[in-house]
């Protein structure tokens, strides 16, 4: 019976599709079904998901901080899985994600899957007992595709959440044209970066044009871009091992190593000669949104803006991003050429249910098939994944390509965003707040002492 009616529907859609093309409607949506040529999606091997049994008509709810306009491309990448299994994915994006998710979990209203961008928050959620351990299928995929990232989904030796998207934070955005006009070279070392900044200051004695523009305003999350600065510089001045100790609080937050990094950041962010191009004095960094800050490069009032790969989606429409375009990014130089530390971040696929359809979807999201599909259905960029087996040639966006290159570079030492790894009270609280106050006038020592005393004692 069921088969019969299914066939009839297929036949009907076939007739409909023919009729539509005949009337030259030109609509190319999935009238025919599994035909991959029609919408650019590819058919994948369904076997890994068939193993979870018949999932037709089941629903998986997804809760994330990825909202419009980035949500539609994300959902597009689920299509092969949906085609294979007949599972409906209920996608819900919220800008209040970090505040709302714990509330929903506590209230017994957890989603099936949440994309948690902070390993620190994952730890808090695991402590509530609501998070399910990753099924063996997911573990196998993660070990095969993203072994370096596995640790971020682990809490107390158990593996919970598979990494999903990935982005590179160690970028400085600039205008290749402006650099060319003045004969500036992309700096290769930290000293060269500061020398270039000084040169730009000297070349613009009026002070209307400054080397740097920065902004850390981000609503509820104001301060986070400044924490990225400190993390990036920590990796450079103190090295990855000390960085790890700092993040795990094996050295105090006000350790001399952190003080050195903060002082180094201050050389740029709190130097009135260097900042804040197009906006005003140092304090304006606190009230300028991180989205707006870099746009001054297009106005020609500043030369450099340090921000992650995802800033690519933020340029005004019509801006060409690329080595010969209006804007492009260079790797934030390390102290010298001998090391190449890279600051990264990404989401973790956290499951609150262990129904077969949820497990199947988790498995799909950890697969190379998904990573490739994500690259193919990518919108305006930001489609790099933690998956090292994904085909980098599928990425369309220039910055995505560069990010993937850096992520798979053997000589690079990657570290996850430290504030995301720290306990939420610090990493999404006092660290943000402390850095904001640091920008508006608090000195280095008071800032570090304040954050240190807020570290949860347990």
């Amino acid at each position: 019976m069921a088969l019969n009616s299914k066939r009839r529907i297929l036949a009907l859609t076939g007739v409909l599709a023919v009729a539509l093309t005949a009337t030259a409607c030109g609509s190319s949506d999935d009238g025919g079904g599994s035909d991959s040529a029609s919408s650019g999606t590819s058919s994948i091997d369904c076997a890994p998901y068939k193993a979870f049994g018949d999932l037709k008509g089941k629903t998986v709810s997804v809760y994330t901080s990825i909202t419009a306009p980035e949500d539609a491309p994300h959902q597009a990448s689920y299509k092969p899985f949906v085609d294979c299994t007949g599972v409906t994915i209920k996608y819900e994006g919220s800008k209040e994600f970090e505040a709302q998710l714990p509330v929903r979990v506590k209230g017994g209203n957890a989603p099936d899957i949440a994309y948690v961008p902070q390993p620190g928050l994952l730890k808090t959620l695991v402590a509530t007992g609501a998070v399910k351990e990753a099924p063996p299928e997911v573990v196998a995929n993660v070990e095969k595709n993203m072994p370096d990232w596995k640790q971020y989904g682990e809490v107390d030796g158990k593996f919970y959440a598979a990494p999903l998207g990935a982005n590179v934070k160690s970028f400085v955005w600039y205008s290749p044209q402006m650099f060319k006009d003045k004969g500036y070279e992309v700096p290769k070392t930290w000293a060269e970066l500061l020398a270039l900044s000084d040169k730009i200051v000297a070349d613009n004695p009026s002070g209307d044009v400054k080397p740097w523009c920065a902004g850390i305003e981000s609503g509820d999350a104001t301060g986070w871009p400044a924490t990225d600065w400190i993390e990036d510089i920590m990796l450079r001045t103190a090295g990855p091992e000390t960085y790890d100790k700092w993040v795990k609080h094996e050295i105090p937050f006000n350790d001399p190593a952190v003080a050195t990094a903060l002082a180094e950041a201050g050389k740029i962010l709190k130097n009135p000669k260097y900042v804040n191009g197009g906006f005003g004095d140092v304090k304006t960094i606190a009230s300028t949104s991180f989205q707006d800050a870099g746009l001054q490069i297009l106005e020609g009032t500043c030369y450099m803006h340090r921000q992650a790969s995802f800033y690519a989606a933020n340029w005004t429409e019509g801006t060409k991003v690329g080595p010969d375009g209006d804007v492009w990014a260079f790797y934030l130089p390390s102290v010298d050429a001998s090391s190449k530390p890279v600051l990264t971040a990404g989401e973790l696929t956290t499951a609150f249910a262990d129904r077969p359809e949820v497990k199947a979807f988790q498995t799909y999201l950890a697969s190379t098939e998904w990573a490739n599909e994500r690259a193919k259905t990518c919108g305006s960029g930001g489609c790099v994944t933690a998956n090292k087996n994904a085909d980098p040639n599928l990425l369309t966006n220039a910055v995505d390509k560069l990010s993937a290159e850096i992520l798979t570079d053997k000589s690079a030492t990657t570290r996850f965003d430290g504030s995301d790894l720290m306990p939420g009270a610090v990493g999404a609280g006092t660290f943000w707040k402390g850095m904001t106050n640091w920008i508006t006038g608090t000195d280095d020592k008071a800032t570090l002492d304040y954050i240190e005393q807020s570290w949860p004692k347990s």
Partner: protein, 338 residues
């Protein structure tokens, strides 16, 4: 355990009643709620009609008050008690008994600043808003175009706090002095030849700039109530005073003010309670950054962002404790009048 049962039950409720994600679902849910209300109300009326006579009246009273008491108990008392318990259970609100949160609240410099800010708000807003409202009400009383002038100052009341905050954020917008200004206030400063200011960043000026927004919203409410009270003063009293040769200021001091005292008390206490709870303005305009946080904002941050549910609960309890005397004073005043 119980949550499992709840999820089971929830799974059987049709979608519109659970989350109402479609437009039709939302409408359905609305009509369902109205129908449910009507049914419950009808049931209460029906049951009440069954009781007759003197003893019956008592049952009727219980029936009428009952639903309200049940709802208050579940919706207000129960969470309030939970909050108080939580506030005594350590930073996350899940540990063993301790007064740590209250000690923190009154010793940590950062939280002391929050208390100081709230104090500034509560002292300034009710009096300035009422003062402005009163002055305005007297000035326009029986003047030409009174209705229009009233509408002007009352309009901000119609705007939500968040809306008002966004408007004022534009007014305070900062650009370098040398650049074109988009903020009204800085544009004026520039036109007069002054340097432009970062109103929302420079402490403690920024707290006062936020207070102005609250005054702007509340002055209309004060003006409306006080204007009505002024109009209710009997003409005979005013005439008698005039015949006695009372001048304008004395008229205000000895006739107007005593006559509208009850209204003044209501206005000041209402605005006072609203100010204690102020959250939207601070969150929208500065997010509590730059030393502008107040108790309600800090409570939200601690509870929902910093994973410090206990400390958040303690702040909520503090708000509750601070509001109580104002409410009691208000009720006592109303009793006196009645």
């Amino acid at each position: 355990m119980t949550s499992h049962v709840l999820v089971e039950v929830a799974g059987k409720i049709p979608e519109p009643l659970l989350r109402a994600q479609s437009v039709a679902g939302k409408f359905f849910l609305m009509f369902f709620a109205i129908a449910l209300f009507a049914v419950v109300f009808g049931l209460v009326l029906f049951l009440a009609s069954l009781f007759k006579g003197r003893t019956g009246e008592k049952f009727q009273g219980v029936l009428f008050v009952g639903p309200a008491i049940v709802l208050l108990a579940f919706g207000l008392m129960y969470p309030a008690i939970l909050t108080i318990i939580q506030s005594f259970r350590g930073k996350t609100g899940e540990g063993s008994f301790s007064t740590e949160n209250y000690v923190q609240m009154f010793t940590q410099p950062e939280l002391l600043l929050v208390l100081r800010n709230t104090a500034i708000w509560v002292i300034l807003v009710p009096f300035i808003a009422t003062g402005v409202g009163l002055l305005y009400a007297i000035l326009i009383d029986r003047a030409r175009g009174e209705a229009f002038s009233k509408a002007l100052i009352f309009l901000p009341m119609a705007i939500s706090m968040v809306g008002a905050s966004i408007i004022w954020k534009f007014v305070y917008q900062y650009k370098q002095t040398s650049r074109p200004q988009i903020g009204l206030l800085n544009a004026i400063l520039k036109a007069l030849g002054f340097e432009t200011q970062q109103f929302l960043i420079n402490a403690p000026l920024n707290t006062f700039m936020l207070i102005i927004v609250m005054v702007w919203i509340q002055a209309g409410f004060a003006m409306t109530v006080l204007s009505a009270a002024i109009k209710a003063i009997p003409d005979e009293i005013i005439e008698a005073a005039k015949l006695d040769g009372v001048q304008a200021f004395k008229m205000f001091r000895f006739i107007t003010l005593p006559s509208i005292r009850p209204a003044l008390v209501v206005v000041i206490t209402t605005i006072g309670i609203g100010t204690l709870k102020v959250f939207d303005i601070v969150r929208t305009m500065t997010g509590g950054q730059f030393d502008t946080s107040v108790v309600a904002n800090e409570f939200y941050n601690q509870s929902f962002r910093f994973d410090a549910g206990g400390l958040g609960a303690a702040l909520a309890v503090l708000l509750f404790v601070l509001v109580i005397p104002i409410v009691i004073y208000n009720i006592l005043q109303m009793r006196k009048e009645a």
